[in-house]
C-alpha cells in the first residue's frame, strides 16, 4: 500500500514570477505512513507552515508532486476528499472559529460536506466529548479560554473524521495547562491510529513524537527519531534551533558527571540516570541562603480589585484582593495561567487602569489620587503588551520608535539620539534598520522594534506582558539576553509569563496569580518550592526544579529551593562525593 502522504521533489515559491526570491520550499521529498507521529521543527521562515499547507491542498506545488492517500492535490476533483482526509489546527485560536456558538462551529465542516442534520449532530457530540468541551457547547467562543478554544478547533477537525491531523503551532499561544491537554490529545489520537503531524517551536514537544523533521531554508535538513536529532547540538545550533530543556540540562550536568549517558530527552530518563550514580542520602548538603533583594519599595499594590464593564450585563471581575510589593531594581515575575489577571494587573502598574478598589502606588505616584499626572506615570513605567508587534502603525522603523519621544517634545538631533539609544538596547543597528519598512521585518525583529519603542521613553520600570510568546528559540534567547542586560543597567523589570523557564532565568522574585488574586509571593526559589500548589493551578516547574523534586522523591536530600543548574550541580556534587 502507498504511504498516506507522499511528497516528490516538492518546490514552492510564493511569488512565482519573481526569479530573485528564494523558493519557500525546494526539493522536498518525504513519505509519511498512516499512523505516524511526526514533529516538524525549524526556525521562523524555514518553510514549516508552507510545507504543512501543502498537505491538505491549501497550497499547491509550483513543481513536484504531492499525493494524499494516492490523490494528487493538483487535481481539483480530489480537493474535497483531501480536505476530509487531512485536517488542520492553526496557531491563533480565535482566528479559526467561524460560528457564534461552539456547537455550530464544530458543525461547520460536516455541513460543508453536506451531511444530513442527524449525522451532523451525532458527529458534533462525539467530537465535543472527545475534547471535553461538551458542557460548554452553547457558549460563544470568545467566552472560552485559549486552551478551550484550541480544543474546539480540534473538535471541528475531528468532526470531519480525518485520517491525519496537522497541528500548525497549535500550542504556541497556550499556557502550560492548555499545552498539556493539547499534547495529551495528540498522543491519544496517535494511539487511536490517526496520523499526527505537529509543527512546533517547543523542542520538548518534538521529543514526544516518533520522528522529527528539521526544516532549514525550505529544505529538509534532518529526518530522524528525536533521540538522534537532539544528539547533535552543533548541528541544531547551525539550524537556529536549540536542545529541549532536559537535553540542555543533561549537557550541563555531563560537564560535572561525565558518566551520565548522552541524549537523555525526558525528565524520568534523566532522573533515573542521576539516581544510578553512587550517592549518600544521609546528610543534607549545606544550603547557601539567598539574601532577599534589598532596596526601596518601588511598586506597592494593596487589596486591588477590578471589574470590567461594571454595571452592565456583561460585567466580569478580573482582579480581587491583589497584593504586590516590588523593590527597586532587579526583576519581578508574575506567574499564572491565562485569565488569571496578570495583564489586568500590569495595566494598573502604568496607570492605564485606575484602581476601582484598593490602592496602587508607583514610585512617587499615588494612583488613587484623581489629580495624578497619568502621562508621567506611563512615562516612568513603560508597558510592552503581549504580541506588541501587532500594534505597530508607522511605515518606517525609525518613525515607530520616535513616536513616544516625539510626543514628549523631543526633536532634531536629540530625538535621533534617543531613537539610536533605544534601538541599541534591543540590538537593532540604527543605520541598518531605521529606514526599513516595519511590515517587511521578521517576527523577532518586529518584537524588538515594539520593545524599543517603549524603551525610547526611558522608563524607570519596564512592564512586559508575555515577552517571548510565539517567538522561535533563537529570537527568544536573544530577547531574554537583552532584557537581562537592561536589568543590569538598573531598570526594574516586571515580567508576566506562563513560561517557567523564562521566569526561572529572569526573575528574582515572583508573584503567583490565580483566579484574579495574588496567592503566593516571594523569592523565585521559594515560590518554585511550592510544587504541589503550582501543579494544582495547572502550572508546572522549570526543568531544574522538576528534576530536583523527582530526585528528592527518591530520597536525595536536596534542599527545597534548587532553581538553577549551578545550584543543582553543586548539591549533587556534595551528595555524590560523600558516597
Amino acid at each position: 500500500m502507498a504511504a498516506l502522504i507522499e511528497l516528490e521533489e516538492l518546490r514552492f515559491a510564493y511569488a512565482a514570477t519573481d526569479r530573485a526570491t528564494q523558493p519557500a520550499l525546494s526539493d522536498v521529498t518525504l513519505q509519511i505512513e498512516t499512523g505516524e507521529y511526526v514533529a516538524i521543527i525549524g526556525a521562523n521562515g524555514s518553510g514549516k507552515s508552507t510545507l504543512a499547507r501543502h498537505l491538505n491542498a491549501l497550497l499547491l506545488p509550483t513543481s513536484g508532486v504531492v499525493r494524499i492517500a494516492g490523490m494528487d492535490t493538483r487535481d481539483q476533483t480530489h480537493r474535497r476528499a483531501i480536505r476530509q482526509t487531512v485536517g488542520m489546527v492553526f496557531q491563533r485560536p480565535d482566528d479559526q472559529i467561524i460560528a457564534a456558538t461552539i456547537e455550530e462551529d464544530v458543525a461547520f465542516g460536516p455541513e460543508n460536506i453536506g451531511l444530513p442534520p442527524d449525522e451532523i449532530r451525532a458527529r458534533v457530540r462525539k467530537a465535543l466529548e472527545t475534547v471535553n468541551v461538551w458542557d460548554v457547547r452553547l457558549r460563544p467562543p470568545h467566552h472560552l479560554s485559549a486552551g478551550q478554544m484550541q480544543r474546539v478547533a480540534l473538535a471541528g477537525v475531528l468532526a470531519m473524521q480525518p485520517r491525519c491531523i496537522v497541528f500548525d503551532e497549535a500550542t504556541a499561544m497556550l499556557d502550560p495547562a492548555g499545552r498539556r491537554t493539547v499534547r495529551l490529545m495528540m498522543a491519544q489520537l496517535h494511539a487511536e491510529g490517526i496520523t499526527v503531524i505537529t509543527i512546533t517551536h517547543f523542542m520538548d514537544e518534538a521529543t514526544e513524537a516518533k520522528r522529527v523533521i528539521v526544516m532549514d531554508q525550505g529544505r529538509v535538513a534532518l529526518d530522524a527519531p528525536p533521540a538522534q536529532v537532539f544528539a547533535e547540538d552543533h548541528a541544531l545550533q547551525a539550524l537556529s534551533l536549540e536542545l529541549p530543556p532536559i537535553a540542555l540540562l543533561t549537557q550541563r550536568l555531563r560537564q560535572s558527571f561525565p558518566e551520565l549517558p548522552p541524549n537523555l530527552l525526558t525528565a524520568p530518563a534523566l532522573t533515573s540516570a542521576l539516581d544510578a550514580l553512587p550517592h549518600n542520602t544521609t546528610a543534607a548538603p549545606s544550603v547557601a541562603s539567598q539574601a532577599p533583594p534589598a532596596g526601596r519599595t518601588l511598586i506597592e499594590v494593596e487589596k486591588l480589585g477590578h471589574v470590567y464593564l461594571k454595571a452592565t450585563p456583561l460585567e466580569h471581575r478580573a482582579l480581587h484582593n491583589v497584593n504586590l510589593v516590588i523593590p527597586e531594581g532587579g526583576s519581578h515575575g508574575l506567574l499564572g495561567a491565562t485569565g488569571s489577571g496578570k495583564s489586568t494587573l500590569l495595566q494598573h502598574l502604568n496607570g492605564l487602569l485606575r484602581p476601582q478598589e484598593g490602592k496602587v502606588r508607583i514610585g512617587d505616584f499615588n494612583l488613587n489620587d484623581p489629580r495624578v499626572d497619568l502621562r508621567a506615570v506611563r512615562r516612568s513605567a513603560g508597558l510592552a503588551f503581549q504580541m506588541p508587534e501587532l500594534q505597530i502603525f508607522e511605515q518606517y522603523v525609525g518613525d515607530e520608535i520616535a513616536f513616544g519621544p516625539r510626543l514628549q517634545g523631543l526633536q532634531g538631533a536629540t530625538l535621533r539620539e534617543r531613537v539610536r539609544w533605544a534601538m541599541g538596547l534591543v540590538g537593532l543597528d540604527f543605520d541598518t534598520f531605521k529606514d526599513r519598512l516595519t511590515f517587511a521585518l521578521s517576527g523577532g525583529e518586529r518584537r524588538k522594534v515594539a520593545l524599543a519603542s517603549v524603551l525610547a521613553l526611558q522608563p524607570a520600570i519596564l512592564l512586559l506582558d508575555e515577552p517571548t510568546a510565539g517567538l522561535d528559540p533563537i529570537s527568544r534567547r536573544e530577547l531574554l539576553a537583552h532584557l537581562q542586560a537592561l536589568r543590569n543597567t538598573g531598570m526594574t523589570l516586571v515580567i508576566s509569563s506562563h513560561r517557567m523557564e523564562d521566569l526561572a532565568r529572569m526573575a528574582e522574585t515572583l508573584t503567583v496569580m490565580a483566579g484574579g488574586s495574588s496567592i503566593l509571593s516571594g523569592a523565585a526559589s521559594d515560590v518554585f518550592a511550592e510544587e504541589g500548589q503550582l501543579r494544582s493551578l495547572g502550572l508546572g516547574l522549570p526543568v531544574v526544579a522538576e528534576i530536583a523534586s523527582a530526585l528528592r522523591a527518591r530520597g536525595w536530600p536536596l534542599s527545597p529551593n534548587v532553581l538553577t543548574a549551578e545550584v543543582l550541580v553543586a548539591q549533587l556534587m556534595e551528595i555524590t562525593s560523600r558516597a
Binding site: N56, L58, R79, R80, R83, M88, F90, R92, D95, Q96, I98, A99, A100, T101, E104, A107, F108, G109, P110, E111, N112, I113, G114, L115, P117, I120, R121, P140, H142, G156, V157, M160, L309, T312, P313, L314, N350, L352, L353, Q356, L374, R375, R378, R379, G382, L383, F385, P388, L390, Q391, I392, F393, E394, F403, G404, L407, Q408, F439, V454, L457
Partner: protein
Amino acid sequence: MHDFEFQRYVTVGQYLATDSPLHHLDPRARLVSGALLLIAITAAPHLSGLGLALVVVLLALVAARIPLSYALRGLVAPLPFILFLALLQILFASPGNEFPAWFTLGPLHTSKMDLLIGSIIIVRFAALILLISLTSAIISTSELVHSLQALLRPLATLGIPTQDLVLMAQVTLRFLPLLALEAERIAKAQASRGAEWGTGKTGILRRVRQALPLLVPLFLNSLQRAEALALAMEARGYHGGKGRTSMVELHFRFTDAVALVVSSALSTLIMLL
C-alpha cells in the same frame, strides 16, 4: 474610569441570554416581528402612533428581562445628535407651515407644528434604537443566521447566492466584538507610549488625529485575521454555499404564529394612529 471600555456604550448588537419567553419563540418569528415593527416605526406619521411604539418596545424589553437601565444607556451616545436634529427642526421653519409662529427672530421661527415635528424625531429615534437593542438582545447571531438562511432560501432558486451572503454576515458579526477588543488594546498600547488616550484631556481635533495610528494596525490586523480565517474555512472543506446542509432545523409552532399576528396588529396600529 471607563476610558478604554469601547464595548460599554454599545448596547446595539449585544445578545443577552436571559432565557425569557421572547427567547423561546422561533427565531424567524422574532426576526419578522422585529422587522415589521421597524418598518412601522420608520413609517409612522403621528406622535400618538410613535408613543404607542415606544410603550410597546419598553414592555417588550421588560418581557425579555433586559434591565431597562442597560437598554436606556444605549440612547446616551446618539442623544446629542438626536437633540441637535430636533432643535434644528424646532428653530427653523418647515415649508408649508400654516401654524402661527410663537417666536420669530431673523431666520429662527418656532411654532406648535415645529415643536410637534421635533418631538416626533426624538420619539422615533428613541423607539428605533431601543427596538434594535431589543431584537439584537433576543436574537443570537446563530439564530439570526439560521432564520435568514430559512427565510432567504426561496431567493436561491433565482440564482442569488444567499448562503454565501448569510455566511458573510455571520463572520462579520463574529468578528465585531474581537475588533472592539483589538481597538481597545491598540489604544492602550499607544497611551502607554505617551498618546493622550484616557487622560481626559482630549479635544475633538486631537481625537481625529489619534484615530489614524489606531486605524492602521486595526486594518492590517483585520486583513491578517481575514486571511487566517479564510485558510481555516478552506481547510474545513468550505467551497461556497452549494451543497451545504445545516445542523439546526427550525420548527414553527402555534405560539410563534400568535406572536406574528400580535406584532403585525401592533405595527398596523402604530402606522394608523
